[in-house]
Amino acid sequence: MITIHDLHKRFRKTEAVAGLSLEVPEGQVTAFLGPNGAGKSTTIKCLLNLHRPDSGTITVLGGDSRKLGPAQFTQIGYVSENMELPLWMTVKQFLDYCRPLYPNWDAAFEKQLMGQFDLPPGTKLKDLSRGMRMKAALLSSLAYRPKLVVMDEPFSGLDPLVRDEFIRGLLELTGQEGWTVFVSSHDIEEVQRLADRVAIINRGKLALDETSDSLQARFRAVEVVLPDDGRAPVSLPNDWLHAEQAGRTLRFTASRFGNEEALAAALREAMPGAAHHEVRAMSLREIFVALARAYRLEGK
């Protein structure tokens, strides 16, 4: 649905995207993650033809992103945290304006979403809360059943309850409609329930791209209890991230976890005197934080 190849985009001295290549498969929810300033929004703006890439190609819905026009936008739903909505309109006026723009606007679906999102039709957008405003934006971007939904930090600034409602709604819809969703966030927790795949961008480059399942299978949090006078060895395997010792306890993240036996063997080899160890599965959030820290260290 989206193919990005060797994308470069520079703003004066800052290289926002530096050779990014990424595939967003059809019918899946791809979470596009990265710390602030990693290049997520720039990538999205390039793929929606809001920014012109310096080099590289982006294919969206089978066509060049630079040629995206009205015909393509009838099949793309775009919601962004900092999108300027027509705040001077009421929700009804807003939808009245949007409706004629989309030939395949589904009035029944619009009505269903109105109910689902609990939007007050007579209220001006500027008088709505941020969450409600995002829902209105989402409604205006979904009611025509787009093939592709692109969301740029849609949950930013929403309180947890609203965010949960919003995500639940989105989950239901994506599940029902089989949409391709490309959603960016700087916090994996927001999208972990949604995401089929996770792509992480760091410093304008793709750092990781795999399914959520694979990611969760690959990462483990490990705690090792060392002997009384034990010290952690100076060098540990590269895939053991963020090793930290507190007293006799050494904690690290294993980023190429295969199975318990293999890990135990590796521990014995690295720390023969270790008393015992514990291995536990990690949430996507923990994995993301571990990776983000690793990227930061790489940068230094």
């Binding site: 703006k45 809001l50 012109r52 026009g69 900092n82 300027e84 705040l87 723009l101």
Partner: protein, 876 residues
């Protein structure tokens, strides 16, 4: 189309409140222009208190500012180019978007303005073709003033838009204008005429063109987004570009385009341009330490019909001395555009000859400046001022023709109506000035005028029609008037303007004019308008020109104004001169020249000391001997300073200095005359070639004349040699040849020379003198009170027996009221008295003036023998 309309309706929904504001301002403007609101009142014209507000200009400014604000009001979701734009990710094509925005501009901005013009013109009773033209002009102006703003919201966001408007206004009005004045000197004249600043053709056309660049800039910004400073910088650049373009030669206002260049080409072909000797003025100037000569002159294209009025400009110059080209002088600022000439015409150029339509023969302009047409150009200062130079000038004449728009009798309530011009005379106030105070001989008129003023048709711009008072019976024309009161104009940008104006004409009901409060209604108030026909280019060469002989100013000659305070001017003059620090021993030329200049300036200030009383006696007895003695030591060494001063010298100070210098030099035969106090010469000298024989040479009064500056060198030579021999040619040396006298006459038009020439037996000299006289007379501007030097050809024409010249002179004399005119009056009086009769006394001159008011040329007969005019004996 559906989406276009859909988008337009969305914009309209957003803009409707703002549009109501715009509509309200348009309606207010219509109300003001129609005078439903703030009507023009004649009563307010005389008021000097309070702030004067031009509601016409003010409303236009307000209207455009509100229109700009409206155009910059874009729904926030459409603005910006940072990817936040909601509209940019909707399936609305660019065509539909821009078509919708264009509909906003056409329907919400241009249409109300066009309708305002239409309603205004219709309510003013204008024909339908003018209504249509008015709407078209308004659309054109509105397009220029607002269309460029259409894409601007995509470049600027939020407060930046209003900052941009403030920038535009500031830049157009303040420092950028000043900076660009230096680069584009023409710009000064673009704004120099009234009612031009905002919507004149240059501005509108340049803004259209620059406005087309805005979408290009916006597209660029969309590809490569600018930072905030760059965005505002682009606005500054665009304003600068627009400013430069409107001042450039690329664009012209309608009235700058010649209306009949072919006619001018045909009329001027083959004619020679000439500058009369008496019309040449050279002044030394200093610009940033660089000296140059400022040349002013009145050029003439012989034989052009009177109705075509030229405005001369010198466009290039080249000076050669001894085959060497002089370096170019600094370029001065002068009139560059043809219509600048239009501004001078009504007020200053003598219109009597150029007045079209029915007019009395021999019409004279009373209050015009005959030198108003003088052109000026900077020339290099030659290395030696006394040595001849040749000057090559490139000249351009802008030709105007005066149109007579309409006229009414000079009485309140009089009306005139023509298709494009209407007048109603509201008030005629004799002996009253613009403030309502008593003012002798003034006539103040208040009138309401309406006129067609389409910019494309060149109907009104750049000047409003100019009123003149025409006295058909007395054949005088008053054209210089003083406007007073606040500006009361409406509708100047709507194709049909109306205004109430108050003008005061001075010196109308004087003793000699024949116009009185009782017969004011018999006079006519005539409205004139100059039309620019076309230009002609000419070249001329002045050879063997000794600039030193013409110089009026040297080393910063101070300007002086006659003193008016009470007291003895002779004593005041002496006090002034005594207070001046004298140059130290061995002082340089510059210091001495400055001292001499200051003494002469003081002399000019206290010129009253040489005025004569009623019996022809000096009002303030005494002489300038003490001052002359102070200056005499410098006479020989700095003769060039005194030669320059000679032309400037009204009080004959130079002659006195020369006398004292000659007396001090111990030249044989020179003594002080007991009778006059001046130097005289008397001596028996040997006769050349006859040994032992002597003859007596006598010169009662050593003379100097401004037109014979070379005589000064003779006296300098005599002083240097302590010999009287150099003086002999001045006395009874070889008499000048007839050709030399004729050449002198061609310069001076001296009546004595004319009499001598007319008595020559060879008819060719008589004919040539007559031809020269008639030519110079024909070229004279038809004015009363000819300026100094210009009265000579008139006197010569009278002396030749030309009745029309006599008629002119009598009417000139009739209008004389001041003592300052005594010199000219005596010269005129000489036309009626034999030359040996001596100077007339004041009584005689007063009777002469009274006779001039009483009699006409028909009452006199010409005595060809004496070349004078005598009152016919049958006259009482």
């Amino acid at each position: 189309m559906n989406l276009t309309l859909h988008h337009f309706l969305k914009e309209f929904r957003y803009l409707r409140l703002r549009w109501c504001v715009l509509l309200a301002v348009v309606l207010l403007d219509l109300g003001v222009q129609m005078e439903w609101v703030l009507p023009m009142r004649a009563a307010e014209l005389g008021s000097v208190a309070g702030v004067t507000v031009s509601y016409d200009t003010l409303m236009r400014l307000v209207l455009w500012m509100v229109a700009w604000w409206f155009m910059l009001s874009v729904p926030p979701e459409e603005s910006g180019n940072d990817g936040r734009g909601y509209a940019q990710t909707r399936p609305l094509s660019r065509v539909s978007y821009w078509a919708g925005r264009l509909m906003v501009w056409v329907l919400l901005v241009v249409t109300p303005l066009m309708l305002e013009s239409a309603v205004y013109l219709w309510l003013n009773g204008r024909p339908w073709d003018e209504v249509a033209l008015g709407m078209a002009e308004r659309a054109w102006a509105a397009g220029s003033m607002t269309l460029w703003l259409l894409p601007l919201p995509l470049l600027l966001r939020g407060w930046e838009r209003y900052a941009a408007i403030v920038l535009v206004v500031l830049l157009k009005e303040s420092w950028l204008t000043s900076v660009l004045y230096v680069v584009f000197k023409e710009l000064h004249w673009v704004y120099d005429s009234p009612q031009m600043a905002m919507e004149c053709g240059r501005v509108v056309k340049a803004t259209w063109l620059v406005g087309l660049l805005v979408p290009v800039v916006v597209m660029w910004h969309q590809r490569r987004p600018f930072g905030m400073l760059a965005r505002l910088g682009v606005v500054v650049l665009l304003v600068a570009l627009q400013h430069g373009m409107e001042a450039s030669a690329l664009f012209r206002n309608a009235y700058e385009k010649p209306s009949d260049p072919e006619l001018i080409r045909r009329l001027t072909a083959g004619r020679e341009v000439a500058i009369a000797e008496r019309d040449r003025r050279f002044e030394q100037e200093n610009f940033n330490g660089r000296k140059y000569i400022l040349f002013r002159a009145h050029a003439l294209l012989g034989g052009m019909p009177d109705e075509y009025v030229p405005f001369w400009r010198a466009t290039s110059e080249a000076m050669m001395q001894k085959g060497k080209a002089m370096p170019a002088p600094p370029k001065g600022e002068g009139p560059r555009l043809p219509f600048q000439g239009l501004a001078y015409l009504g007020m200053h150029y003598p219109m009597a000859a150029a007045l079209p339509g029915e007019k009395p023969d021999g019409l004279l302009s009373v209050d015009a400046q005959q030198t108003a047409q003088n052109m000026q150009i900077s020339l290099p200062q030659p290395e030696k001022l006394e040595e001849p130079v040749s000057v090559h000038l490139g000249l351009t004449a802008e030709w105007m023709r005066v149109q007579r728009l309409g006229e009414v009798p000079l009485k309140a309530g009089a009306r005139f109506q023509a298709p494009g011009f209407e007048i109603e005379l509201l008030q005629v106030r004799p002996n009253e000035d613009g403030r309502g105070d008593k003012a002798y001989s003034c006539v103040t008129v208040v009138y309401r005028m309406s006129a067609r003023c389409f910019e494309w048709r060149n109907d009104l711009m750049p000047l409003f029609p100019h009123p003149c008072i025409l006295s058909p019976k007395n054949r005088y024309l008053w054209q210089f008037m003083v406007s007073s009161g606040s500006e009361q104009v409406r509708g100047t940008s709507l194709g049909w303007c109306h205004m109430i104006q108050q003008q005061t004409f001075h010196s109308v009901m004087t003793c000699g004019s024949g116009v009185t409060p009782k017969n004011l209604g018999e006079q006519r108030l005539v409205w004139l308008k100059p039309e620019y026909l076309g230009s002609s280019q000419h070249e001329m060469e002045m050879k063997d020109l000794k600039i030193g002989g013409y110089l009026l100013k040297r080393d910063g000659w101070p300007w002086s104004t006659p003193a008016t305070e009470a007291g003895n001017p002779r004593e005041a003059f002496l006090r002034q001169v005594r207070s001046l620090p004298r140059p130290a021993e061995g002082a340089g030329r510059a210091e001495i020249a400055q001292y001499v200049a200051e003494v002469y300036a003081a002399s000019a200030v206290y010129i009253e000391r040489v005025y004569l009383g009623k019996e022809g006696e000096l009002k303030w007895p005494g002489n300038d001997r003490e001052v002359c003695l102070l200056l005499a030591p410098y006479f020989v060494e700095h003769a060039d300073v005194f030669r320059a001063a000679l032309v400037h010298d009204n009080a004959s100070l130079t002659q006195g200095v020369m006398h004292e210098a000659v007396l001090q030099a111990g030249i044989p035969g020179i003594t002080r005359s007991e009778k006059t106090g001046w130097a005289r010469y008397e001596r028996e000298v040997p006769v050349a070639g006859k040994p032992g024989q002597v003859r007596k040479r006598v010169m009662e009064m050593l003379g100097l004349a401004p037109w014979r500056p070379d005589d000064l060198d003779v006296y300098v030579n005599a002083i240097r040699r302590h010999s009287d021999e150099p003086l002999w040619p001045l006395m009874d040396g070889k008499p000048p040849s007839t050709d030399e006298v004729l050449a002198d006459y061609a310069k001076s038009f001296d009546r004595g020379y004319l009499g001598w020439l007319m008595r020559r037996p060879d008819v060719k000299y008589r004919e040539e003198a007559e031809r020269l006289t008639r030519k110079a007379y024909a070229e004279l501007p038809r004015v009363v009170h000819l300026e100094r030097g210009f009265e000579k050809p008139l006197q010569a024409a009278v002396a030749l027996g030309m009745p029309e010249a006599l008629d002119w002179m009598l009417r000139d004399v009739a209008m004389r009221e001041d003592e300052l005119a005594r010199g000219a009056m005596m010269q005129y009086h000489a036309m009626f008295a034999p030359q040996d009769q001596g100077q007339p006394d004041t009584k005689t001159l007063l009777k002469f003036v009274q006779d001039a008011r009483r009699y006409s040329a028909k009452d006199y007969r010409y005595d060809a023998e004496k070349m004078i005019w005598e009152l016919r004996p049958e006259r009482p």
